[in-house]
Amino acid sequence: MTKNIMIVGVGGQGSLLASKLLGHLLLSEGYDVKVSEVHGMSQRGGSVVTYVRFGEKVYSPIIDKGEADFIVSFEQLEAARYVEYLKKDGRIVTNTQKIDPMPVITGAASYPEHLIEKIQTLGIAVDAMDCLSLAEKAGSSKAVNIVLMGRLSKYFDIPAEKWQKAITECVPAKFAELNQKAFLFGRGEA
């Protein structure tokens, strides 16, 4: 049975490293894996989506509505935007950070309020945390991606050590310690 993880956020927030880490980890666990990324124009501060799919045999590189086991979101509005992609008993793991999109900045639209509560009223399990503060505590605001991976790891049977090994293998050596810290903060184990 193919499992689906959707990573959503704002271009530039570091979702490519998160998907790289997941791909690396799941491959080493022996799964067939497909990861679909976004490059080019939409990377420039736009809404970005990365799909990670794994299982015995994976065909489609993308995740469609009603299919995601997890939505991992770097930002509240982006979590809300992709709710339709969630499977019936799927779960959202999200950063509580809010980043105003340009229509909100220019005043053409307003940022919806109480989004997490509204998602929860649909009966969806939402694991929300302030990843930005935890990333800063670990040493860099850029480590939000690894904080989120730490949180996501709690819902997998794969031991923490294997996630940590994958982090070491996927990030530059000089940032390894910082990211290991970010991972543990995300897991709530430090």
Binding site: G23, V38, H39, E84, Y111, L122
Partner: protein, 580 residues
């Protein structure tokens, strides 16, 4: 070793293992990484060419000389390279020559969603279409032998979902074939009418042989499942079809999409009760089947535009899709925007303030067209800004000359802006051309170009001096401004628009995302001074917002460029303190 590879990376691996020796490309999403990855192999000579036509001709020259060669480009790039493409079909090759074209159904990062298969059909060149990274690798490896066997260039067609998806690839080793000695052969390689007339029948004969090859080649395969439904498909659509139907349909999976087989399709059709064609964009396989006299379902239920997905195919073919929940909420869009500190922003602000008519071009700066700047009124294709401003001014004369400008990036200028500039110099319109020189090819992810002084590997290379180039074309007025300096931009723009001769303004500052660019600390807002006038908001900087009626700076985004500070009449925006 089994590893996850991006489709483009896998294709590059295939080139390497096939002994490809020369690669020349122009970057373009979603094709760029093929050449970036190929450049990581020291055994391959790789370069960024100024444009796709040059790249293809470089690859052709290398093939002629007897070494396996490659060029890669996005779909619209193949239009630029169409001239050599159509005629190297006639000459054929010496050593194998492979061309990659990457389509962008869904237009993730493109100005149209043309279907490149038309180019393969029109130029009578075989086209392979992989469906994942494993096939991208294998097809690239085999394409060279195909090229040499049939004496033709071979096109590999990628699409965004194959190019930018990672899947598993099992690597092999590089085998370099013996170079094929170059031999003078005027009748084959000099395409003047007397020779080309004799080459055309050879091309037609080659196509007949390629059809025979397609009937039983390893690129096309049948996967028999239920005989109730037969689906002919290719590329990423194959993956969606497998996802939806699994064994509940029989599939003819085409890996070679030009020329298409005949017998194979008729035999497959005879085995199934109903035949459906699933292909993104144009009905090329479908029309071929109809010409073979088959009754098929295709574009009567499936769209001609956009990307497909498993749910789209399921719904259109009457299969239940999974249930999902919806949030009853109006969600603001999040369109891409120029980055905080983008050097283009200041210049576009000045163009907007001066109510200029701006004819634009292809690059990050196309985002100058979106609110609140709204400072671009046309974008067509690479280089069109300069040629079009000339036409615009020739049509309207003095009425438009004093307020109309072309804006074009440094890389786009090298790609196809120079010829337009030559036209202005030659046919003399009083046009103002602004070259946005951010010292890199930005949109595609920071590739070097002939103006940067570095090559694809980051080593020092030739550097074209834009000022000297423009002057040598006959432009007496060439001004350079720093787009972070709004007063200077305003002054220079007014001067050049008022001048009675054509001029070039070079707006020069490196892309804020380049690693060597040092940022200033984020600006701070003196709340007691901010009156909430929103002047700073006219820039459309993602780092500035209004919170409780006062300007607020997002410290995680602001790079301290100071452009907003120049708009604040109340000194409310102040340079941030340097952290010790």
């Amino acid at each position: 070793m089994r590893q996850l590879m991006l489709g483009n990376q896998a294709l590059a691996r295939g080139l390497y293992e096939a002994g490809c020796s020369v690669v020349s490309s122009y970057p373009g999403t979603p094709s760029t990484e093929v050449t970036e990855e190929a450049a990581k192999y020291d055994a391959i000579y790789c370069e960024w060419a100024p444009n796709e036509k040059v790249a293809m001709e470089v690859a052709f020259g290398a093939s002629l000389a007897g070494k396996r060669s490659f060029c890669g480009m996005k779909h619209v790039g193949l239009n630029v390279a169409a001239d050599p493409l159509f005629t190297c079909s006639y000459t054929g090759v010496n050593a194998g020559m492979v061309i990659c074209v990457a389509d962008d159904a869904g237009m993730h990062s493109s100005q149209n969603e043309q279907d490149s298969r038309h180019h393969a059909i029109a130029s009578k060149i075989p086209m392979l279409e992989p469906a994942d990274s494993g096939e991208a690798y294998a097809f690239a490896k085999k394409a060279f032998a195909l090229s040499e066997e049939f004496d033709t260039p071979v096109i590999i067609k990628m699409c965004t979902r194959v190019a930018h998806s990672q899947s598993i690839v099992e690597e092999g080793t590089r085998v370099v074939p013996d170079p094929i000695p170059y031999e003078k052969n005027i009748a084959k390689y000099v395409m003047m009418p007397g020779n080309a007339i004799r080459r055309h029948p050879i091309v037609e004969e080659r196509t007949r042989k390629l059809v025979q090859f397609a009937e039983s080649c390893e690129f096309n395969r049948i996967e028999m499942g239920s005989a109730e439904l037969g689906i002919i498909t290719s590329s990423t659509s194959y993956q969606y079809v497998k996802e939806v139907f699994g064994e509940r349909a029989s599939i003819l999976k085409l890996g070679m999409v030009n020329p298409l087989p005949e017998r194979l399709i008729l035999d497959f059709a005879a085995k199934v009760e109903k035949l459906v064609i699933v292909e993104e964009l144009d009905p090329i396989i479908e029309n071929h089947c109809k010409q073979l006299g088959l009754t098929v379902t295709g574009k009567d239920v499936l769209p001609m535009e956009g990307e497909y997905s498993q749910n789209l195919i399921a719904e259109r073919l009457g299969v239940q899709i999974p249930a999902y929940r919806k949030l009853n909420e109006t969600m603001p869009n999040r369109p891409p925007v120029m980055c905080a500190g983008c050097p283009h922003r200041g210049l576009f602000y000045i163009l907007s303030k001066n109510q200029c008519t701006v004819l634009g071009d292809i690059g990050c700066y196309t985002l100058g067209a979106v609110a609140p700047l709204n400072a671009m009124e046309m974008t067509l294709c690479m280089g069109a800004s300069i040629s079009s401003v000339h036409g615009f001014n020739k049509a309207l004369g003095a009425e438009s000359e004093g307020r109309t400008v072309a804006v074009i990036g440094d890389s786009t200028f090298m790609h196809s802006g120079m010829t337009g500039l030559a036209n202005i110099a030659y046919n003399q319109s009083n046009s103002t051309v602004i070259i946005l020189d951010n010292s890199i090819t930005g949109m595609t992810g920071h590739q070097q170009n002939p103006t940067t002084g570095y090559n694809i590997k980051g080593d020092p290379a030739g550097k074209i001096d834009l000022e000297s180039l423009c002057r040598s074309m006959g432009f007496a007025r060439v001004a350079v401004v720093d787009p972070y300096d709004l007063d200077a931009c305003d002054r220079v723009l007014k001067e050049e628009l008022a001048a009675c001769e054509p001029s070039v303004i070079i707006s020069r500052r490196p892309c804020a995302l380049l690693k060597y660019v040092k940022h200033n600390p984020p600006l701070t807002v003196k709340e007691e001074k901010c009156v909430g006038c929103k002047s700073c908001m006219k820039l459309g900087c993602p780092a500035i917002s209004i919170k409780d009626k006062k300007a607020a700076i997002d410290n995680t985004l602001c790079v301290g460029c100071g452009v907003c500070q120049q708009l604040c009449k109340f000194d409310a925006l102040q340079p941030g303190e340097v952290q010790k």
